[in-house]
Amino acid sequence: MSGRRQPPAGPAAELDDGQALALLATMRRIRLFEERVAQLKRADEVHGLIHLSIGQEAVAAGVCAQLRGDDPVYSGHRAHGHAIAKGAPLERVMAELMGRVDGLCSGLGGSMHLVDTEHGLLGATGVVGGNVPIALGSALAARLGDSDRVAVVFFGDGAVQAGHFNESVNLATLWGLSLILVCENNGFAEFTPRSAHTNIERVSDVVAPYDLTRETVDGNDVLAVREAFGHLLAAARAGRGPMLLECLTHRVRGHYEGDPARYREALAEEDWRERDPILRLERHGVAAGWFDGDAVAAVERDAGEAVSEAVRFARQSPFPPAELIAELVYADRGRG
């Protein structure tokens, strides 16, 4: 296969202390939020199929930190982190997972279908890879509207084996749209290791025939994600696209909450502490003098409070009225 194309030169991603702390705060919020969700799922307070991204927070944080509010973002079934990183209010995400009327989607969407148009999260899908072509449509709208918005779609490596992924890469390349495909390659498609689904080791190799600009990074290193994505984003903003960022990461939980995950070995605690993207940034940030231990503790405390507040908010929100579902089938409120 032809060698990987170099990412286009873009402005170097400057990182100041405040931004570093913000990245840490985002990841910590996602982590504590999801740990709480796991508890609430066991207590039957959140409903439905729940897919957690614990261990993958660096991708959501590193990517979304650099996006504008009007950049359309799409996600899949493992979307909590992306929604939170893109700016969706924690309490409204929690209320959605609890099926309450103050949830992002008034309780109609649930965990797998988070949407927050106000913050540019245009969709999350429960169909593996189903949002890739839809994100392409948003990129097309940006192009035709002379906007420099960049569309971003998150997906797992399992999505790459679905035909619509390849169709979309072809179209995006053909039309040169400003779309950045962000693959969270956690090595598992649902319950099955990548090696059982394809002979192609790296997702970035799948798109090689299209000569797409592509980059593979350590997805557990938020600084690496941020920097690589920053370069791609600058180029996409300038109208050069599409591109693919492959983030090699690790899913700590099973495919969904309740999944006994017998199909794989758990990572040893020690190894995990080494790879945990949050601990890594904490260690690095303190060593680099970006922030100190007190700031780290404050981040954790604030995030914990925000999550508790989100739970309080969600619990007091009523369930949606039964009639709402019939009202929302059609945009003009008409029934079919």
């Binding site: 359309p72 989607c105 148009t117 072509p133 839809i134 039309w175 929302l328 059609y330 945009a331 029934r335």
Partner: protein, 329 residues
């Protein structure tokens, strides 16, 4: 009055919509060249290939593109060349387009139009001749229209482009080239309103798409025998103008439902189920359904001709429901 065709009206409506609204764009396979039936001919010349976009043979992806573009403020008109190929885009249509508004709690809107054409009669065999409207009507969140004549395809396509929801416009390939006379200033055709094509007091015939013409032919034959049939074209399947049908059945007390699709699980079943519930005491005879047999569309002309419901079947069904079976049937 002026002379036109169903196909010319589609083309003219697209021109008009694109001139009137810069958000409208046309996406599909070969659309810049006009497509196999020339429905989009000339558009690329006037509006350029940015707004008339040829695509690869990738129905799933291009349907997704239309959804994303619609969610982001455009008004895409997606062409799926044959309705049979909707199967390739069904995941996007059912799991995304139809549900986005509801699943997002009303935040997202998908004002896209999916134009496609169905029906047999051109010896297209099992994969290019199907009538799949019942599948689409089974999907809440989609609106489904099925025009039977030039003036309706223009009006409904226009209404569909203006609609804030995903609308599937199912055209009929056998109606494309028929010459029709239409008013110079046709009335708008709102989505969800049936049309009484012919009035009559003895039996109600509800017919879809191509079968409207067949029903009229049957009605003429019945009239010659002293039976006055009322022919209703629902024009829109979702939302269905049930009241127009029920009102008619309350007067005629007899109903025939006719379409080209496989009768089993077809849209006729839905109409029959609703009418028997809404007008049970008014029905003097069983509702007769006319549709294709439970078999894939065969290629051979005599087989396809026998397979396809036509005016003879409508006529026989009407006679049957009147308790006066046609001779030999």
């Amino acid at each position: 009055m002026r002379e036109t065709t169903y196909l010319k009206e589609i083309n003219a409506t697209l021109f008009e919509a694109m001139r009137g609204d810069p958000r409208v764009l046309v996406i599909g396979e070969d659309v810049a060249e006009g497509g196999p039936y020339t429905a989009t001919a000339g558009l690329a010349e006037e509006f350029g290939t940015d707004r008339i976009r040829n695509t690869p043979i990738s129905e799933a992806a291009i349907c997704g593109v239309a959804i994303g573009a619609a969610q982001s403020g455009l008004r895409p008109v997606l062409e799926i060349m044959f309705i049979d190929f909707i199967t390739l885009a069904l995941d996007q249509l059912v799991n995304a387009a139809a549900k986005a508004h509801s699943m997002s709690g009303g935040q997202l809107r998908v004002p896209m139009v999916l134009r496609t054409q169905g029906g047999a009669g051109q010896r297209g065999a099992a994969q290019h001749s199907q009538s799949l409207e019942s599948w689409l009507a089974h999907v809440p969140g989609l609106k489904v229209v099925m025009p039977s004549r030039a003036v309706d395809v223009a009006g409904l396509l226009s209404s569909a482009i203006a609609d804030p929801n995903p609308v599937v416009v199912i055209e009929s390939k056998t109606l494309y080239f028929r010459r029709e006379r239409v008013p110079d200033e046709p009335e708008p055709v709102p989505i969800g309103r049936a049309r009484t094509v012919r009035e009559g007091g003895d039996v109600t015939i509800v017919a879809l798409s191509r079968l409207v013409g067949e029903a009229l032919a049957a009605a003429d034959r019945l009239a010659a025998e002293g039976i006055e049939a009322e022919v209703i074209d629902p024009r829109t399947l979702v939302p269905l103008d049930l009241e127009a049908v029920v009102e008619s059945v309350r007067r005629t007390n007899r109903l025939v439902v006719a379409h080209e699709a496989v009768a089993h699980g077809g849209f006729g079943a839905e109409i029959a189920a609703r009418v028997q519930a809404a007008a049970f005491d008014h029905l003097d005879a069983p509702i007769e359904r006319v549709g294709a047999p439970f078999a894939p569309v065969p290629f051979s002309p005599p087989l396809e001709d026998a397979y396809l419901p036509g005016s003879e079947d409508v006529y026989v069904a009407a006679r049957t429901t009147l308790g006066r079976p046609a001779a030999g049937s």
